[in-house]
Point group: C2
Chain length 260, copies 2
């Protein structure tokens, strides 16, 4: 059973995971980060040691958990020998086989969530998607996952890749549209809070109705009068015009059958 964890990374995800682990009674024994500064800031939260030197990474821990940028993973793993350590990454789009090159006990620990340092997240209902190179390693990762979440699933690298892409649409792109809405309003001196109940209801609706059935608005009805008014308002913004047109077209195509 995994108890002692070395945390690689000091960003949003490392911070949120480390807090959740500690709250669940697990021990963070060390924080590694590229810079001493960021490693020390996060380590001070956990009361543990820290380093920015790969060869000093504490491999005596029960698990070395990587919460760093995808691109940074292979470069870091080249710098120390983790063949015998249990090692897992947390990335949506990195296949397990990358870790197999470096470790005999490797896996993936992917929480489907968005993390910001300034916001504490309740992990209990966040799906934690696991994958491992052996049933023993899978079992070990499960002991960690069930401590923080009630929703632990086994998902392959191919499935995780799709899940990550879907999450980009449903979270990153969605948040950017909140931002574009905010920007449009603020240019007219209107407060963003006008949109909050709408945003909340839109997110809440799809827990009861499928997103397909929940669709409303001028694009779906192909209400040309409104669409043209909106495009006119965006005419000096080629970037927004493109987005408006293509998303509208995509909505219309998805709902076209209803009109035939």
């Amino acid at each position: 059973m995994i108890q002692r964890i070395t945390l690689i990374g000091a960003g949003n995800l490392a911070t949120s995971l480390g807090k959740a682990f500690q709250k669940a009674g697990l021990d963070i024994v060390q924080v590694y980060s590229r810079t001493r500064e960021s490693a020390s800031v996060l380590a001070s939260k956990f009361g543990c040691s820290y380093t920015n030197k790969a060869h000093e990474i504490d491999l005596s821990a029960d698990l070395v958990l990587l919460a760093i940028k995808d691109d940074a993973i292979p470069g870091l793993l080249e710098k120390f020998d983790c063949r015998r350590a249990r090692i897992a990454h947390t990335a949506g789009s990195v296949p397990l086989e990358l870790l197999e090159k470096y470790s005999d006990h490797c896996g993936v620990f992917y929480p489907v969530q968005t993390f910001s340092k300034s916001r504490d997240v309740n992990f209990s209902d966040i799906p934690v998607c696991l994958e491992a190179n052996s049933s023993e390693m899978l079992g070990e990762l499960k002991t960690v996952a069930v401590r923080i979440s009630r929703d632990v699933r086994e998902i392959s690298s191919a499935e995780r890749k799709v899940l990550h892409l879907a999450a980009v649409f449903a979270c990153n792109f969605v948040n950017h549209f909140y931002y574009l809405g905010d920007k449009l309003l603020s240019e007219y001196g209107l407060p963003f809070n006008l949109l909050i109940p709408l945003i909340r209801e839109t997110a809440s609706k799809i827990t009861e109705i499928s997103p397909y059935d929940a669709q409303t608005g001028p694009a779906m009805r192909y209400d040309e009068t409104i669409l043209n008014k909106h495009l006119k308002m965006l005419e000096k913004r080629p970037e927004l015009t493109k987005i408006y047109s293509f998303v509208t077209e995509s909505i219309f195509l998805a709902h076209k059958k209803e009109h035939e």
Copy 2:
């Protein structure tokens, strides 16, 4: 003070508003709809009369409220004389001046929300944006709005138009991205509920952090490795490739300064 309301329309908005009015103790005296069938279905919910003939619309009501497609408003108003009736529409993108051609007591009653027939909506925190051609009419509309919502605001036609456009981004487009996420997952046999906690947190975050500060993901970091993997997965879908590319570009441009 408005007590008796004639409801024009029998769609999602008319249904939701009528229910909220009745719950708040207001009287729906008649439902008009283009087809007898839909008028009668909604009228039966309110226990009121109904018609599909414009000349039979009950103008003795304290308010005739239009909840129909934007394009249908002028055509309908040509068919009966509402010069002396109090009349208001509920549309985001229709200026008040359109109603001024037909009535001396006109206004706008625009709730910033998305409505589906199958889902009851709690109006209490929904912003209701009012506009009227006189302070008397504005006062009358307020008496109705405060019965169903705690958030009643006065907003001009120009402001409402921007608000409607912002709402299309923050609701209609957002919901379509939930749909695209759902579709991607289902093609791999993955359940949509994997995304629900993420969707909930994304919507919840921006009540505390600005959407700008809440942004996460590969586009913002311009993580080319991930972006290329995602584009590769979408390569047989030109429609999704365009959306992915342009939204990614827009996110990157918005956050570019952070990288410089």
